[in-house]
Amino acid sequence: MFFIKAYPIFAREGFAMFLQTEWDPGAQKYGVLQALVGTMLTSVVAIALAMPMAIGVAVTINEVLPSRLRTIFGSLVDLTATMPTVLFGLWGFYVLGPFLQNAVNTLAGGAVMTSPSTLFTASVLLAIMVTPYAAAVIREGYALVPKAVEEAIYGVGATRLEAVLLKLRYVISYVLGGFFLALGRAMGETVAVAMVVGGNYAHLTTNLFQSGITISSLIALQFGNARFYTYAEPALFAAALLLAIFGIAINTAAIYLIQKWQP
């Protein structure tokens, strides 16, 4: 379906649209490379921030909290994953964005981040949004470490920290599962990102502190007026196709790796 709908743009331009960086339907420019780069950048940065948080949350719940509080706190974390993403978007736009702009500029000692809505804002917001997903998977795996393995680990004179690391290694397939689930969510997330990413359609940037665009937010933001231009709709479908292919590739890799590293 995506391919058929996208066909007119492929017929006109081949796959060149994936290498062009300007989206301006009025000028018949349908490049999406800037959005592709935006998706990559925000997802990678988001995951890099989210994984340590997710592991921290999962380990804290299992190691620090007494068993009575474990379920309550765990469910609380799970709940944040079910909040409507538009709420995150609003919070990101009005609170997180200005806060980050202020913090970054203060730390850098200059106006590095000229707008509160940037790729960086989107990345941090995504990190916060996907952490509960990764944390839920890792938490579940961590709780499955058999008592016998735990006794083996402490029996050889491991400290608490060493034991935590060894247990995480034992459930590495769950850590990977959480990683890929979070990555998939981060790449696909639309509404919240569209609200804080800045909506810069026509300029390729790898600078996190500038406004940008991602594939999903491009589609969401441009879908409304795409029907006014002959090739805009096909181009959006082509972008969607790309996102779908990425999603499938990541899931395939995830399934392969998780099976390979089963305990």
Partner: protein, 250 residues
Amino acid sequence: MTKLEAKNLQVSFGNVAVITGLNLSIPEGSITALMGPSGSGKSTLLRVFNRLIELYPEAHVGGYVYLDGQDIFEIDVIELRRRVQMIFQIPNPIPNLSIFENVALGLKLNRLAKNRKELYQRVKTALEKAQLWDEVKDRLNAPAGKLSGGQQQRLCVARSLAFEPEVLLADEPTANLDPENTAKIEALLLDLKKEMTIVLVTHFPQQAARISDYVAFLYKGQIVERGPTKDIFTKPRHELTEKYVTGRLY
């Protein structure tokens, strides 16, 4: 010489008292068998000796245990676990680590080997002592989970021996093994008592009779009777002991 001594030891899990004022001394360089019906507190007692009991948040321990006269709760727990090693009823190598890593892990964590050569040598010696070297020397990097049950148990023995421990706690180490592997483990324990003190929990009176020097009979969290193995089997002083060794109490 007394190696390990428990004085008025009490352990409870939540509201359930498992060990209720237990007194026991374990002589050095011998095998002491702990026998008793299920739920009499044998495994719990072992887990107090190396403080693995602390992994059970609901467990509460009172009383005293001395290792060479020193209160074990005042010894650094990591040092204690190095000196007092344990093998378990179900062999528990860390299955995702390699055979080599399983034995080397404790040495690495505790920085007990100066370099890779010494580490390799100590792993090799431990595996040799555990009678496993010849079977695994060509696949040291294979995951430990791939070994047979008997091999896994000997791997666990090797993991303990790598520390050159003073005490070896063995919690029904042959309960899940076939007769051939059972014989291997028993021969190993007999050999090892020259170098260390062994506390063996067993459900098999015959096993205690075969390899132990002393037997302590536990019932409901207390020592009912303790003495040289021969005496316990030929002239038990307590009715419960007699019932147990003749198979009338489980």
